[in-house]
Symmetry: C2
Subunit: 215 residues, 2 copies
């Protein structure tokens, strides 16, 4: 297998679109979800995000990175105004609609892309009815990164909705069964294969494979 | 499909292990890589991380979240001391060794798990020879989050190494071809299927599918 190398000088000299695709591919497979919000006036908004990470289990926290210069600011503005947002996993059945939310629509992306808002009493932001795994969150804090003025925002989980048959007896969610997709680069969506799970690793002992724990 | 719901009260009342598995599954499929560092004295260290996100393409930036209370601090200490680290994608061929780095070894995880350090003149930290996609980074800045004292650290890409035949003419990396895996929850590793790629989305126009752009 022949290896390709890029030094920092090479990277800085790349054509803009090539560099954007390359660098966006380097962080591997990513979580990809629709983030839904509503303004104080009740106008709904839906945006696709792949910069979402686990921050902690207790309290249950999730981090999202917002890129102020390339993504419309409605999502961040709505979260700061209403304190609420939802994260909705993308399934194969509506991946075309999900990607289409990234266009610059004048109306709500729910209407424009024919996705269905769904409400729950514990979170003021809408969920996406078509999604299988859905999380409702409240705002905790945010940091504007000095390096490029992106905004790292942390939310605390207030509500979880998921398909009954994807939840294992040990709390593990079978995301393949739930139909959750992953993405790579800027525009590639992938289905995922069944996992191999390993037990907690100990030194000098062979790794044990464990069952999926799904009921 | 019957739906399972957890309110915040439900979540807080869950058994610890169940809650940890559940919350760690909620952020969907994740980037999973080995982060390699060396101490000032040259002792190498290897740790498995799934909290890695794209921060920007120009300058090329990557973010990593460190959990101070649950993960050994060697990686973070080495980065702060030497200013360098590498991110190495995990392939199926060494996923058992990669998961085994999470055990509490007394010696370097390179030796303990039989993985091979590989050096490049532009980055002082070792790469993992067995990985296909490898990134060398230098420290930029870090933030200790008030919500749970995790540390969000940003690195700037100084070197990229990847298999020649996985790089498309548009800069997109075919991560399926490169053998990169994804993970879910705390302990599940998945292979990924071929992607569907979409063109830049425009309002009121059907989405166009594009080829993978691989040479």
């Amino acid at each position: 297998m022949s290896q390709k190398a890029f030094s920092r000088l090479d990277i800085d000299g790349l054509e803009k679109r090539f560099r954007t695709n390359l660098i966006n591919s380097l962080t591997g497979f990513k979580s990809v979800s629709l983030i839904a919000t509503a303004s104080l006036e009740g106008t709904t908004n839906l945006s696709i995000f792949s910069q979402i990470i686990h921050v902690g289990a207790n309290p249950p926290l999730v981090g999202v990175l917002f890129r102020p210069h390339t993504v419309p600011r409605h999502t961040l503005e709505n979260i700061l105004a209403t304190q609420h947002f939802t994260i909705n996993h993308i399934r194969d059945s509506f991946v075309v609609k999900a990607h289409h939310t990234s266009a610059r629509w004048d109306q709500s992306e729910f209407e424009a892309c024919e996705l269905t808002p769904e409400y729950d009493k514990e979170v003021s932001a809408p969920f996406v009815a078509e999604a299988s795994v859905k999380i409702g969150l409240s705002y905790v804090e945010h940091y504007t990164l000095k390096c490029n003025e992106t905004v790292f925002l942390v939310g605390e989980i207030q509500k979880i909705l998921l398909p009954d048959d994807s939840l294992g007896s040990d709390g593990f969610i079978d995301l393949v069964k739930a139909g959750t997709m992953t993405c790579s680069g800027l525009d590639a969506y992938h289905k995922v294969q069944e996992p191999t799970r390993f037990a907690y690793a100990k030194p000098n002992q062979p790794l044990e494979r464990i069952d999926k724990g799904v009921n």
